[in-house]
Symmetry: C2
Subunit: 746 residues, 2 copies
């Protein structure tokens, strides 16, 4: 095989990293001839030298190194353990192989950072263990899915093993005898890279599992100076560009850096993209990988941070609620993105992570933080378009009041494959640092043996993914697309509007095809007003169907009910269940009301703040109050309250509402202020081709918003009612009226 | 009336506080003759001068002063508003009179701290407003209870008004014209002091409401130099010692400083004791009030801090869960106790409070904190005896692992009057900073209008106070004492044991008379062992009744159920209610099991830690899993899980169990360790007059505890079973056995 190109690359890289006195670069230079084929390339010798020299002076980096030393020392004491693969995820051999690849990577880094040969020897001995074990392995006995791994039950885990081990091996490869190096090159790295790249049903997919595989093979290629691996990684196993890393970069992220499965999986998918891109940048800077598609990989890091509140990712689709900005994957993302951009906002994220990579990028971040260079990360209203071309829906994020202020998330995205939930035009709301209008996330207890070994629970399909478990329209007690994600995958909502001003932020989208013959359009706005304590959420959902149906609109909220502002019959002595299927079987009913078209209200208290939700519909609706947890004999579900608005026997109806955060309860000082809503009345008026929602505010002011049936279109609209008339051109308009008897404010 | 003594006192006080250069004391000295009758006595002129000189240099004190300035400035801007009393608690006139007394006190202090006469003028004008209003007032129109107030619906609030206003008035009294001074002296302070001391049905009670009254009258006496008020305050309205402050100090606290209503009310009751004692100490140091009963008032402050976990008070009896160390009342307690003792542990409490008094004591604390003198407050195992003589039960607090370690609270106290719950030998458990075995506290939303104006809700009687809502024995679905606190008041549990060593802490008590013919004895231990991850709680409850009955033992826990270690029939599609009355009507049943004598287990997850509870009884028991919230149409209750053990048709039975915290779940790193219990088996053996509980631990070790039927008595005991024999002398013994086949460890 041809060694020349890698050699060139190596020198380029070494020089690239060598903004250093010759003295420091010397060790690498001294044995230049040998070095050409064995010196580190994923992190250059010069960069290691610099980290060794400067790392100790940066507290965050030094602490990271200590942590790694403790971990590896403990494993060195325990001795080499490379068991024959046997167990599935969570089992002993699974966890041991996981510990091993972490140890190989860490030991390689520690050898470079401390100069202590013992680390290199430990990494070598572990790898020699795999050199004995691996060649004899067939498919894993617990092989999962069509593509079993060899060390692990899933090929995915094998890929992750190789991505980590390659980095550790790179750091110690020039310390090995030719015999050991050849043994490990061939029996571990080539063998695994051949297995992965020889499994096109995984390797050539446009999917994040494949990204781990190509990253593993590509990094192996750099380390072994074997361009054939690099080519396969870039172009796919056929080396024709029909698959591989470049195509993945082009297809798996939207132009705004949104990943279709949502933030929780974006966090996981991002890691191999960023790690491999960083390896490419170091070895083949001329590819300009971080500039590809207008810098989409760096946008993806930024988009992921924007997709969070209070440090936690918006839990749309299959998501674990406690995942957030401090996850390991994002540590890599932030460090590498900062090294590329020098964007000081990222440092404040790194600060909350309290972790850095043991890499040149990690050192840069640690040094910048030590120099107090961090700037606050600006959380701002953001529209993240979905789909490779940005044409398949969008995630609309409205924000006021900064980090712990109001965040309204409208989920107008595409399905997001098998991990997507059936919740078109769903919404979430955050305020005062809390989840107020919630998404259940995934029904899963990650890695908890007692809960089915930590995999997705049956309730993930029977509840968490179902439409009723979300805050959007359910027709005839069926979930969107009949609960079949493959049906949903090609059908995305159409974004109609996204506008931001000082006192008004508004977004709108339409969904067709979630149900046969049903189209629904939802417009939501975040509105501030001097008469209001906090900004409020206005919600207008207009559904038109081909025939009479049952329309349910759930609201899942977080807090303790303070006041039920409508008459109910309560199920106090025996608690019935809402329905039989599609998630309805998991809802206990606490109370139900008779149908009416009058606006109702519900007030709850959360972390010292009151939330009053006023809601109504143009056709008479019932209001039900319920709680999740029915038909859950294994206690797999969290028990959370919900409100359900139900309209029966209509083909066309419009749901509208306003959610108002207000007041402050201080349990320590025993004081309450603003316990009463500042909204006296919510009214809806219908025109020919538009709606107006009117808020009568305490103190006499009036706030109205006019919304055309197609907010994306121009044209003039007029709506009259209650002695008023509202006229506007375009898709929508806000009207501020001085007094209730006055006319248009503008 | 005789002015001499007060004059003497005044000088004593002034000199007492005057550890200052003459120059600074000068202003007070210059007009000595007038000063004798008008200079401040609750805080001396010299002390004010010192605060004015040094306060700005102590951040905490300076911030407190700023806060006060903002508050008072705003009210000065709004202008004088002294409305005719009309509304009840929470209403406008109630809140305004509350704001006014806070303003009078703050304005007086600010005048002294800033020298700005405007503050003195504002306080004067407010008081002149009351001088006009008060003399004409009769009983409050909303008069509550037998003893209506005049400014407020309760006399209690009138007393608090006077305690605060007297302090503000004291600070400005020497700035007034003789005319104004006489007007305010007579028409406000004498009038109110006469009203309060002239209402013996309140003033002469041995109750904390009376403490506010005597403090108000006594402080008025010092300010007006009228010893008759001071005498009444000390000795009662008859001045014969049959009532008054000294008797209250002797009777309302136990010798260990425990207050029978529990920590939540102790916090409130403590304030007037400490404030008035401080005034006494300043004006009549020769009384040695803080030394009375071996310093019981200072012990009460310490006991209150010990009665907390994670900053919150143990919520026994009627208690709001979010009340803790940062409440205003305890700010006064900590500042004044520190000034008396110089105990640096108290400073770390003050640090968490982030508040200080605008008083010499507050300044001392602020200065000590600025000098970093704070020492950690040592949370240690503590037995707080109950009753004036310490002979009416006790609160037993077992602790391991310090502040956020394990805390086991055994509620072996007396009834605690009308705010007491029916939960003899109830227990609470804390671990890892969390509430693990819980007490519901009070069913009340303090000051929240929507929840019955913030008073105790009907569910406080129907649920929160009932025995079933606690973690102790219920017989035949009746609450202790038939739910009549007056029956319970004379009957306290008998403490039998309280012992503490490095690896073992144990407490025991017996209750008789909670039910006719029923005696139950409960022994609980906190045990650490090298084979265990964390200390575990051992629980032995032996009940002997005169006839067959239904014995229920509830456990209210906090967390998400991970594993139900026994067979159940689940109520998944329709949820029944546990019973009809005494709180049973508020429990939904989720699952129930058949009777067995085999030990069962339940595992839950809370904040990343697992808790496995193993439980059994000598007679066959059913296990039920339920949740609070049934028959609650107004959503007044929190919904919390519970486990219920039920033995039917027995006269004598023994419940036993072990609660084990174990493992760590890290959602960020996606790692779990120690998810499995380290206890393989829990066994019970019965001897002639003793029980042995045996824990088989992972790794083969065995831990056994022998407990005599009367752990308070000596004598030798022997219990045999499972090929073992355990012998010991005395009430109890711990046995550590090397292997399961071995014999006694000691």
């Amino acid at each position: 095989m041809n060694h020349a190109p890698p050699l060139m690359l190596l020198l380029a890289a070494t020089l690239g990293g060598a903004a250093l006195p010759a003295a420091q670069a010397a060790p690498a230079a001294r044995q230049a001839p040998a070095a050409s084929a064995t010196a580190p390339v994923l992190v250059t010798a010069a960069q290691w030298t610099q980290m060794r020299a400067e790392g100790a002076r940066s507290p965050l980096f030094a602490k990271e190194q200590q942590r790694a030393e403790q971990r590896v020392r403990a494993m060195m004491k325990a001795g080499i353990d490379v068991p024959v693969p046997k167990d599935k995820g969570g089992g002993y051999t699974h966890e041991q192989h996981k510990r091993n690849y972490q140890a190989i990577q860490a030991a390689g880094a520690l050898y470079r950072l401390t100069g202590d040969k013992a680390y290199a020897t430990f990494a070598r001995d572990l790898l020699l263990g795999y050199a004995k074990l691996y060649p004899g392995l067939g498919a894993h006995p617990q092989g999962r899915g069509q593509i079993p791994g060899r060390l692990f039950w899933q090929t995915l885990n094998d890929s992750v093993w190789l991505v980590s081990a390659a980095q550790g091996y790179d750091a110690i490869r020039d310390t090995l005898s030719d015999a050991d190096r050849t043994t490990i090159d061939d029996n571990v790295f080539r063998a695994m890279a051949d297995f992965l790249s020889g499994t096109p049903e995984n390797f050539d997919k446009i999917h994040n599992h494949a990204t781990w595989a190509v990253a593993a093979v590509g990094m192996t290629g750099y380390v072994l100076r074997d361009t054939s691996y690099v080519d396969k990684a870039m172009q796919g196993s056929k080396r024709d560009g029909s698959a591989g890393f470049l195509k993945q970069v082009d297809q798996l992220f939207s132009p705004d850096g949104y990943y279709e499965e949502g933030p929780y999986y974006q966090r996981y998918a991002l890691a191999p993209f960023i790690l491999f891109a960083n390896a490419i940048e170091r070895n083949e800077p001329q590819r300009g990988i971080f500039k590809r598609r207008d810098g989409v990989l760096l946008k993806a890091v930024d988009a992921l941070v924007q997709s969070s509140y209070g440090g936690y990712f918006f839990p749309i689709n299959d998501a674990i609620l406690d995942k957030g900005l401090d996850t390991e994957e994002l540590v890599a993302g932030i460090d590498i993105a900062y090294a590329q951009t020098g964007d000081a906002r990222l440092l404040s994220v790194a600060k909350t992570q309290k972790r850095v990579l043991l890499s040149p990028e990690g050192l840069q971040v640690a040094q910048a933080l030590a120099d107090n260079k961090a700037k606050p990360f600006a959380f701002v209203p953001t529209l993240l378009r979905d789909g490779p071309d940005g044409t398949e829906g969008a995630l609309a994020i409205l924000r006021m009041g900064g980090e712990n202020g109001q965040a309204l998330v409208m989920k107008n995205t595409k399905q997001g494959m098998g991990h997507g939930h059936f919740d078109k035009l769903n919404w979430l709301f955050y305020d005062n640092g809390q989840r107020v209008v919630t998404d259940y996330g995934a029904a899963r207890f990650l890695n908890i043996e007692a809960k089915a070994g930590g995999i997705y629970l049956p309730e993930n399909s029977s509840w968490a993914r179902q439409t009723i478990a979300h805050n959007t329209l359910v027709v005839n007690e069926q979930s969107h697309f009949g609960g079949d994600w493959k049906k949903g995958q090609p059908l995305a909502p159409t974004p109609l509007l996204f506008a931001v001003s000082d006192d008004t932020q508004i977004a709108s989208a339409r969904m067709e095809g979630a149900y046969d013959g049903v189209s629904f359009t939802r417009t939501q706005a975040l509105l501030s007003h001097p008469s209001l304590g906090e900004p409020v959420v206005l919600d207008l959902l207009r559904v038109t169907g081909s025939k009479a149906a049952r329309y349910d609109l759930p609201l899942h909220f977080n807090g303790h009910i303070m006041d039920v502002g409508f008459k109910t019959q309560s199920a106090v002595a025996a608690r019935p269940v809402l329905g039989k299927a599609n998630g309805y079987q998991h809802v206990w009913i606490d109370a139900a009301s008779e149908p009416t078209s009058e606006a109702r209200s519900l007030t709850w208290l959360l972390d010292g703040r009151f939330y009053t939700y006023r809601f109504a519909s143009t056709a008479p609706s019932r209001a039900l109050i319920g709680e999740s947890g029915a038909n859950d004999p294994s206690f797999n579900l969290r028990r959370e309250p919900m409100l359900l608005q139900r309209v029966d026997g209509q083909a066309v109806t419009t749901f509208y509402g306003v959610l108002e955060p207000h007041g402050q309860y201080d349990g320590t000082a025993e004081t309450v202020r603003g316990a009463n809503s500042r909204i006296d009345r919510l009214t809806h008026y219908r025109g020919k081709d538009a709606d107006v929602l009117v808020l009568d505010l305490a103190g006499g002011k009036q706030l109205a918003v006019g919304i055309a049936d197609d907010p994306a279109k121009g044209g003039s609209h007029e709506v009259s009612g209650g002695g008023h008339s509202w006229r506007w051109d375009g898709g929508w308009k806000r009207f501020d009226t001085g007094t209730r008897t006055g006319k248009d404010g503008k």
